[in-house]
C-alpha cells in the first residue's frame, strides 16, 4: 500500500531528494521523489558505462593484434555472460519498480488516493485548461485527465530550467490519465511532448502550474 508521510526536521538544505536515510522502522532504504535526481545519477552511470565500453573495445583491439594464448574452452565464460545479461535486462525493471515511485503510482493509478484532479482537453493544437493556472498544494497526489478531440498529442510538465518532470501521450478516443506527486514548490510549464504537425509547434503554456504550500521544511518520504 502506497502512502505519503511527512518527516519534520531541518532537512530543507537537502535539495536533492535522492537520499539514503533511516526510515521510521529504522531500516535503511532508498527514497526518490524527483525525476531530476534520478537522471543526475543516470548521467554519471551513462558516461561511466560509455567510457568503460570504449576502453574495453580499445583494449581488445590491442590484444587481438598481439600473439598470445587463447582459451578455446570458454563455455563457462559464455554462459556466465548470458546469465549476467538476463539478470541485468530483467533486473533493471525490478529495480525501478521498487525504487522509482512513479512506476507504482502509474500501475496502480486507479486505486490511488487522489488529492487534486484536473480535466484538460486538447483540440486544434490548443490546450484547454480548467482554469488559467493550475494551483497545486505541495505533497498532493494529482491526477491529470487529458483528452484529445482530433490528433495524438503529448502532455508534459517541465521545470523552470527546461528539464522535464514527466509526460504521457494523449491519444484521441481514449482516456489518458497520469498521477504525480508534487513535492517541491515552483512554477512549471506544460508542453505537448508529441509531434502533431507543424501547427503544433506553439503548443506550450508557460508557467501555468503553480506548486505552493507551507514553507518547505520537510522531506517527503514515499513508503511502499
Amino acid at each position: 500500500m502506497l502512502g505519503v508521510s511527512w518527516t519534520s526536521g531541518s532537512l530543507d538544505r537537502l535539495s536533492a531528494t535522492l537520499l539514503i536515510r533511516a526510515a521510521a522502522c529504522e531500516s535503511w532504504r532508498l527514497i526518490v521523489t524527483d525525476s531530476a535526481d534520478i537522471f543526475a545519477l543516470m548521467k554519471v552511470v551513462y558516461l561511466s558505462y560509455t567510457l568503460i565500453a570504449i576502453s574495453f573495445i580499445g583494449y581488445f583491439s590491442l590484444r587481438v593484434t598481439r600473439a598470445g594464448p587463447t582459451n578455446p574452452g570458454a563455455k563457462k565464460a559464455f554462459y556466465t555472460w548470458v546469465t549476467c545479461l538476463v539478470c541485468l535486462g530483467v533486473g533493471i525493471h525490478v529495480l525501478t519498480f521498487n525504487k522509482v515511485p512513479w512506476v507504482k503510482w502509474d500501475l496502480t493509478r486507479d486505486k490511488q488516493q487522489i488529492d487534486q484532479e484536473f480535466e484538460i482537453a486538447m483540440a486544434e493544437h490548443e490546450f484547454l485548461l480548467p482554469s488559467p493556472k493550475l494551483d497545486i498544494g505541495i505533497g498532493n497526489m494529482v491526477r491529470f485527465n487529458v483528452t484529445s478531440a482530433d490528433l495524438t498529442y503529448g502532455f508534459g510538465v517541465f521545470r523552470e530550467d527546461g528539464s522535464m518532470m514527466f509526460q504521457m501521450q494523449v491519444v484521441p478516443g481514449h482516456d489518458n490519465d497520469l498521477v504525480w506527486l508534487f513535492d517541491k514548490p515552483g512554477t512549471y510549464t506544460i508542453r505537448s511532448t508529441e509531434y502533431s504537425g507543424p501547427r503544433g509547434e506553439g503548443l506550450v503554456m508557460e508557467d501555468v502550474v503553480i506548486v505552493s504550500g507551507p514553507k518547505y521544511e520537510s522531506l517527503v518520504a514515499v513508503e511502499f
Binding site: 525525476s35 537522471f39 543516470m42 551513462y46 558516461l47 560509455t50 565500453a53 570504449i54 573495445i57 583491439s61 587481438v64 593484434t65 598481439r66 600473439a67 598470445g68 587463447t70 578455446p72 570458454a74 563455455k75 559464455f78 548470458v82 545479461l85 538476463v86 535486462g89 530483467v90 533493471i92 525493471h93 525501478t96 519498480f97 522509482v100 512513479w102 512506476v103 502509474d106 500501475l107 482530433d150 490528433l151 495524438t152 503529448g154 517541465f158 530550467d161 527546461g162 528539464s163 522535464m164 518532470m165 509526460q167 501521450q169 491519444v171 484521441p172 478516443g173 481514449h174 489518458n176 490519465d177 508542453r191 511532448t193 508529441e194 509531434y195 502533431s196 504537425g197 507543424p198 509547434e201
Partner: protein, 530 residues
C-alpha cells in the same frame, strides 16, 4: 581503376545498389546537418520546411542508404556463399530502380509539397494535416519502396530454395535456414550423439531470418500506405473519408509492430549475420559456439515479433500487462541476443590472434562498440520508470537510435564494404590507406560524440521533434552534436574521394552505363599481349 566491362552481372548489380546507397547517405547527412544548424539557430527555415526535412531524413537514411547497401551486399553474398546462381538477375535490377525511385518520390513529397507526418505517421495526422497531393506522393513513394523490399525478399528466398544448381531437398534447407538445426545440434551434443554439419552457412541463416522480418515490415508499412492513398484520392474527389474508423491506439500498435521489425529484422539480425561473416573471413576460422548462435537467431524470431510495445510505454490507454510483458521483459532479451552475437564474434576473433588490424577489422570492432552502447540505451528507455521522462526525447533518437544506426549499423556496413570492395571490383585496391583510416576515426568519434551529446540533452528532457527558440537550455549539447556531426560529414567526403579516386570516374559511370571501349586501353592490352 575499375574496368566496368569486366564485371559480372552479379557484381554490377551489387555495385549499383552500393553507389545509390552511398549517394543517399550523403543526402541524409546533409539533411541531418541542416537540422543540426536549425537546432542552434532557429531562423534557418519555417516549421513546415523543418518537419518536412525531418520526415524525409529517416526515409532516405533507412531505405535509401541502409537497406540499399544491405540488399546489394546480400544479392552478392547469398548466391556466392551458397554456390548457386541468383534466382533472377532481372528482378534484382528492377529492385534497385524501384527502391531508388521510391525514396526519391518520398523525398519529393517533403521537398515539394511539405509532407511532414514524420516516419511515425500517427493516425490521423497524415490524412488531416497535410495537402492531399503531399499525402498521395508520399504514399506512392512508400508503396514503391515496399514493393522493392518485397522483390528483394522474394528473390532471396527463391535463390535459397531454387534447385537449378543443386538437388538439396527443401525441407532440411528450410530447417537450416531458420536455425532449427542449431537447436538439434545442441540437443545431440548434450546426448553425446554426433553433431551434423548444418546445410546453410551461419551468415545466410541470419540473412534468411532477417528477411522474414523485413518482409513483414514491408507488408505493414505498404498496407498503411495503401490506406493513405485511398484517403488522398477521396480528398481529391471532394468527399474525404472519415478518420474515426481507425482507432488511433490500435493503429499505433499495428504501425509500431511493423516499424519495429526494421530495428529487429534488419538492424539486429542482419548485423549479427554480417558480424559472423566478417569474423569468419577475418579469422579464417569456424565461428565460436556456432550452434548456439544459430539457435539464438531462432529465439530472436520470437523476440522481435513481441517487443513493439516498448514504443507505447507512455500511452496510458495501453494495457499495463502489455507494457510490462512486451515493452519491458521481452524487450530486455534484445540485450541477450545482441550480447550473444558480440561474444561469439569477439571470441572467434580472439582465438585467431594475432590478427592484422585491417580496415574491415577496425570497422567491425567499431560496429560492435556502437551496439554495445546503443542496445543498453534502448533497454533503459524501455523501462516504465525511465520512459516517463525519456520518451520522445533526444535520448531515444541520439543515445539509442543514432548510436545504433550510425556507429553500430553504419560501421558494420562499412566493414562489409571494405571487405567486399576487392571482390566486387575484380581486385581494385583503394588508393589511400590514410583516407580509409581517417574515415574510420572521424566517423567513430563523430558518431559516438554526436549520439552522447544528444543523449545528455535527452536526459534533461529535450524533445526530439520540437523546435526550440534561441538560447534554449540545451544549446550547449546541440553545439556539441553539430561539431561531432560535422566530423562525420568530413569522414564521408574522405571515403567517397578515396573510392572514386580508386575506381575512377569512368569506372563509376561504367557501373551504370555500358561505355564505348577505350581505344587507349585496348592499345595497352595489345602491347601487353605482344
Amino acid at each position: 581503376m575499375l574496368d566496368a566491362s569486366r564485371l559480372t552481372p552479379l557484381q554490377r548489380v551489387a555495385l549499383r545498389f552500393a553507389v545509390i546507397s552511398l549517394l543517399f547517405y550523403g543526402l541524409c547527412i546533409m539533411e541531418g546537418m541542416i537540422m543540426r544548424g536549425h537546432q542552434i539557430d532557429f531562423d534557418l527555415m519555417e516549421a513546415d520546411h523543418y518537419f518536412a526535412l525531418m520526415g524525409a531524413h529517416p526515409m532516405v537514411g533507412i531505405f535509401g542508404s541502409s537497406f540499399m547497401l544491405v540488399f546489394g551486399a546480400f544479392y552478392f553474398l547469398v548466391p556466392t556463399l551458397m554456390k548457386k546462381s541468383l534466382y533472377s538477375q532481372k528482378l534484382a535490377e528492377i529492385n534497385w530502380m524501384t527502391m531508388a525511385a521510391g525514396v526519391l518520390t518520398v523525398w519529393l513529397a517533403g521537398f515539394l509539397f511539405r509532407y511532414g507526418a514524420l516516419y511515425t505517421n500517427y493516425w490521423p495526422l497524415p490524412v488531416t494535416e497535410f495537402k492531399p497531393i503531399a499525402l498521395l506522393v508520399f504514399a506512392t513513394g512508400n508503396i514503391m519502396i515496399m514493393t522493392g523490399v518485397v522483390i528483394f525478399c522474394y528473390n532471396i528466398f527463391a535463390t535459397v530454395f531454387h534447385r537449378r544448381d543443386t538437388e538439396e531437398p527443401v525441407g532440411p534447407l528450410l530447417m537450416s535456414a531458420v536455425g532449427i538445426d542449431g537447436f538439434v545440434n545442441i540437443y545431440r551434443r548434450w546426448r553425446g550423439k554426433k553433431v551434423e554439419e548444418p546445410l546453410m552457412p551461419l551468415p545466410l541463416v541470419a540473412i534468411f531470418r532477417g528477411t522474414i522480418d523485413t518482409l513483414l515490415d514491408a507488408v505493414v508499412l505498404g498496407g498503411i500506405s495503401i490506406v493513405f492513398l485511398i484517403h488522398a484520392v477521396y480528398i481529391f474527389t471532394g468527399e474525404p473519408l472519415p478518420t474515426d474508423w481507425f482507432d488511433a491506439l490500435v493503429y499505433k500498435n499495428i504501425y509500431w509492430w511493423g516499424l519495429d521489425l526494421i530495428a529487429d529484422g534488419l538492424v539486429l539480425i542482419y548485423v549479427a549475420g554480417t558480424w559472423y561473416l566478417l569474423a569468419g573471413l577475418i579469422s579464417g576460422r569456424k565461428l565460436y559456439m556456432e550452434n548456439v548462435a544459430r539457435a539464438a537467431l531462432l529465439v530472436e524470431l520470437v523476440v522481435s515479433w513481441n517487443v513493439w510495445a516498448h514504443h507505447l510505454l507512455a500511452d496510458q490507454a495501453q494495457w499495463n500487462w502489455m507494457k510490462i510483458l512486451s515493452g519491458e521483459m521481452v524487450t530486455a532479451f534484445e540485450l541477450v541476443t545482441s550480447g550473444i552475437a558480440i561474444f561469439v564474434t569477439l571470441k572467434t576473433l580472439h582465438d585467431a590472434r594475432p590478427l592484422k588490424m585491417t580496415p574491415q577489422l577496425k570497422f567491425l570492432l567499431g560496429g560492435i562498440l556502437g551496439f554495445s552502447l546503443g542496445v543498453p540505451a534502448g533497454v533503459i528507455q524501455a523501462d516504465l520508470g525511465m520512459n516517463r521522462i525519456l520518451h520522445n526525447t533526444q535520448w531515444v533518437i541520439g543515445a539509442h537510435a543514432h548510436m545504433q544506426l550510425l556507429v553500430g549499423l553504419g560501421m558494420t556496413l562499412y566493414a562489409a564494404l571494405y571487405a567486399l570492395f576487392p571482390m566486387l571490383t575484380n581486385d581494385t585496391q583503394l588508393k589511400s590507406k590514410f583516407l580509409t583510416s581517417f574515415h574510420f576515426w572521424a566517423h567513430l568519434i563523430g558518431g559516438i560524440g554526436m549520439s552522447v551529446c544528444m543523449g545528455f540533452a535527452g536526459m534533461d528532457g529535450m524533445l526530439r521533434r520540437t523546435i526550440y527558440g534561441a538560447e534554449h537550455p540545451f544549446e550547449l549539447e546541440m553545439i556539441g552534436a553539430a561539431f561531432f556531426g560535422s566530423l562525420m560529414v568530413v569522414a564521408y567526403l574522405a571515403m567517397m574521394y578515396n573510392i572514386i579516386n580508386s575506381i575512377g570516374i569512368r569506372g563509376l559511370v561504367g557501373i551504370f552505363i555500358n561505355l564505348p571501349s577505350d581505344q587507349g586501353q585496348e592499345g595497352d592490352e595489345v602491347v601487353a599481349t605482344a
